[in-house]
């Protein structure tokens, strides 16, 4: 149970969150500034579109690798479910149930 609702990882972690908020807001408001000031070069526009997929791959590849064989299978099933149904939550449910079952069948991992 949580003993202290007001606990912090570091005393300055709210400042870190504020910095993350400023970074996020800069991207939201940045588009407004761009409307008025300049045009993005086609390369930059293409590049921005490529970023999210690349971020998620870079994040997920080590997570999947670390999860071992049950994780690899569960990851593939999650991806298949997401492609098939186009529904996030359903895909996540498939992945979670799959890894729980696979771990039960594969106790060494």
């Amino acid at each position: 149970m949580e003993a202290d609702l007001l606990a912090l990882t570091e005393w300055w972690s709210p400042l870190l969150i504020l910095a993350m908020g400023v970074a996020t807001y800069a991207t939201r408001a940045g588009g407004l500034v761009l409307i008025k000031r300049m045009r993005l070069s086609p390369f930059v526009e293409t590049w921005l579109g490529q970023i999210p997929g690349a971020v998620f791959i870079a994040l997920v590849a080590p997570m999947v690798l670390r999860a071992g064989p049950p994780g690899w299978i569960a990851a593939a099933l999650t991806l298949a479910a997401a492609r098939l149904w186009g529904n996030f939550l359903a895909a996540m449910a498939v992945g979670t149930v799959a890894i729980a079952l696979l771990r039960a069948l594969w106790p060494a991992a």
Binding site: M1, A7, A54, R83, G95
Partner: protein
């Protein structure tokens, strides 16, 4: 002449109501986010502050996934910034609304803009919607539900006894895989994604900390942009 663009309380309410159907999945995600935050040692107040101040789903999942001791400050801020660069492309598509209202209202409206409410607003604008408050109304709706769900997930998540047995530790991975599938645009993504994954794995093995995400993301996205430019540029 087109009807003038307005910013009214009725528009705010209409946006709020239009986003209500999204609140269900919003709360569901927020619960998962709160749960993962708890698993990674993010405190209740930090979990809530992230939802109130950052208010960006994917970024917050990323942040709580990277949350560690000592806190990787540069990586957290850098990753959130890079991940949200896509927002730069969203406001310009709503320019007909955003340039017609006072600047203060426009800058306040985009503070609560998300992928989902941007999509709703763009649809409304293209159907002939003339009330720019729609964007802020839809955003506020999800803001409230996102925050409430985050806190509930964080408080409730700690009560699940053995999260690994139920596969709950895999939720974060599953979330990013499901999210990833939506960004798949076709075979042209194979090479950039292999590059992103390969450099991320290599960087993780060679460089301490979480730089592998930035390195993988930059190499993959730059390669993707270059390949695409070559294909279209002729």
């Amino acid at each position: 002449m087109r009807e003038p663009i307005v910013f009214t309380r009725a528009g705010l309410l209409r946006g709020f109501l239009a986003a209500l159907p999204l609140s269900v999945s919003c709360v569901a995600f927020a619960l998962v986010y709160g749960l993962i935050a708890g698993q990674n040692g993010v405190s209740v107040i930090e979990t809530g502050l992230l939802s109130l101040i950052v208010f960006a789903g994917a970024s917050q999942f990323l942040a709580v996934e990277l949350w560690d001791q000592p806190l990787p400050v540069a990586t957290l801020v850098g990753a959130v910034l890079v991940l949200n660069l896509r927002h730069l492309l969203m406001a310009p598509t709503l320019r007909r609304w955003l340039t017609a209202i006072p600047a203060g209202r426009a800058y306040a409206s985009v503070a609560v803009m998300t992928d989902e409410t941007w999509g709703l607003s763009l649809a409304d604008l293209e159907k002939g919607g003339r009330d720019a408050a729609f964007l802020a109304g839809a955003g506020l709706c999800l803001y409230v539900f996102w925050f409430a769900g985050s806190i509930l997930g964080r408080l409730f998540g700690g009560l699940v006894p053995d999260p690994e047995r139920f596969g709950l530790d895999f939720l974060g991975t599953a979330f990013f895989i499901a999210l990833l599938s939506g960004f798949w645009k076709g075979r042209g993504d194979i090479l950039p994604w292999l590059a992103a994954g390969g450099t991320a794995l290599a960087a993780q093995a060679l460089i301490p900390g979480t730089w592998y995400i930035v390195i993988g993301a930059l190499s993959g996205s730059l390669l993707g942009a270059w390949l695409k430019g070559r294909r279209h540029g002729g």
